[in-house]
């Protein structure tokens, strides 16, 4: 499971979307909020009904094959067919339908317009994430990581930049398609802080299976701080203990000093701009303003790389830049094997600067 959240040193706690799928209970059976909860309750109820009916049928089959003649005669009588074949299913299925519809009615609760809004745009094979203010302006642009305040519904505007994708964080809600040219609204809510795995649930070509993200639910005050861009590490230390995790404090984070022998006097920003990275990536406050790849402004604070699939640290970052195609075959970023290891290290060090 996830190591504890620590905004102070996200690079040390890195964990990937895959971590979220291990262990028991699996995320689909482990709702963290009301919308996922009702789906899970319904799923268990249907499973229980199915199990009961299967048991009744098995018992009837046993009687029909090996029961005493008197029971057999009863089982084959018209009476039994009326009751077990028609009345019982009619009553049970009607009951389930009414109960199921009332249980899941909350999934389509009207949207008041006062909920925080986040626009999630799926790209082959990553997620563009924009946090909107009440007027619909983008206040923060990020990628591959969805931050949410705990205990309140959040409305997601789901879009696609290319083909049909599907948004799914099993702990938080059911799936919702992301369709080019449309905006689908989905309400999600997390009632406990934690990190949850999200994936694309609609085959979208090539490395579809490697298109994930991490959803991070924070207490409201911490979320506000994060959103307002308070620098990583500022404010009171934030760390929740997620049960069953090992504190990551014994880990060290590679520092700028570690990279110094490789980087020397190289200028990461100049290399980033000179090698065409800026044509696809945006970094606020620099000339880099490309839109066809993930926004890298807040890369330093991100837990994962390239769609939730790798922990984010100096090593994986350099590995990704040098040879993205071996890691995520078919993705839309070229492998930069024309760069020297030192140039890659300089770019990585510059990208790691908190902004």
């Amino acid at each position: 499971m996830w190591p504890p959240i620590s905004m102070e040193s996200p690079m040390t706690d890195a964990s990937t979307v895959f971590d979220a799928w291990w262990g028991w209970p699996p995320p689909v059976l482990d709702p963290a909020g009301p919308y996922a909860e009702s789906v899970t309750v319904l799923a268990w109820a249907l499973f229980a009904m199915g199990a009961i009916v299967t048991a009744i049928v098995a018992a009837a089959l046993f009687v029909a094959v090996a029961g005493p003649p008197r029971w057999k005669a009863r089982l084959g009588g018209e009476h039994t067919v009326w009751i077990m074949g028609i009345a019982f299913p009619a009553v049970v299925l009607t009951g389930l339908l009414v109960w199921g519809l009332s249980l899941t009615a909350s999934l389509t609760d009207p949207i008041t317009g006062r909920e925080p809004r986040i626009r999630v745009t799926a790209h082959m094979w990553w997620w563009d994430i924009e946090y909107l203010d009440a007027a619909g302006r983008v206040v923060r642009r990020d990628a591959n990581e969805l931050h949410l305040p705990v205990g309140q519904p959040v409305v997601l505007e789901l879009k696609s930049a290319d083909v049909i994708h599907s948004f799914w964080v099993p702990n938080l809600s059911g799936k919702e398609d992301m369709i080019p040219g449309r905006t689908n609204l989905l309400k999600v809510q997390a009632d406990r802080p934690g990190r949850f795995g999200g994936i694309c649930a609609e085959y979208c070509g090539g490395p579809h299976a490697l298109m994930g993200f991490v959803a991070v639910a924070h207490p409201v005050a911490e979320f506000e701080r994060w959103l307002s861009g308070t620098k990583v590490g500022a404010g009171p230390a934030v760390a929740q203990d997620v049960p069953g995790t090992v504190p990551a404090v014994t880990r060290r984070t590679p520092t700028a000093v570690d990279a110094a022998p490789q980087v020397g006097a190289r200028d990461g920003q100049a290399l980033f701009l000179a090698n065409g990275c800026a044509a696809c990536h945006r970094i606020a406050g620099t000339p880099a303003n490309g839109l066809s790849g993930p926004d890298l402004t807040h890369l330093a604070g991100r837990l994962t790389l390239s769609g939730g699939i790798l922990p984010n640290n100096r090593g994986t970052l350099q590995g990704w830049i040098a040879d993205a195609q071996s890691i995520k075959p078919g993705n839309r970023m070229p492998s930069y094997d024309n760069l020297s290891a030192e140039d890659v290290a300089a770019i990585a060090l510059w990208l790691e600067t908190p902004r």
């Binding site: 014994t250 590995g319 990704w320």
Partner: protein, 111 residues
């Protein structure tokens, strides 16, 4: 007797099964796999660094350092400081985790 030119397994290094097990998890968790292929890990198998599928635990570490478990552990944790000029970056491992990773690597060599 195909192993005649190698010393038999177990005697080349002290194999600590628990450390090997922890080390094999750590290489995936820390993301060493982004640049190296490891036996038993199907994905990712990055190619930016040398494949370790046939790591044999012999010869100087990274071509220059005396081959000791302490050097191997120091190298996987902070390569640039251990072997000046190494293109491999420092990795987020504690000292004890680095020893586990070294044990795991020597374990590959003994397979």
């Amino acid at each position: 007797m195909t192993t005649a030119c190698k010393q038999p397994p177990q005697t080349r290094h002290d194999l600590d099964e628990a450390a090997i097990e922890r080390g094999s998890r750590l290489v995936a968790e820390a993301g060493c796999t982004a640049c190296h292929a490891f036996p038993g890990i199907g994905w990712p198998r990055g190619l930016a660094g040398p494949s370790l599928l046939t790591f044999d635990g012999r010869g100087p570490i990274a071509g220059t350092l005396p081959n000791t478990p302490a050097n191997l552990a120091a190298f996987v944790r902070n390569a640039p400081a251990t072997k000046p000029g190494s293109p491999m970056p420092a990795m987020p491992l504690s000292r004890s985790e680095a020893r586990d990773v070294a044990a795991y690597l020597y374990g590959i060599a003994d397979d």
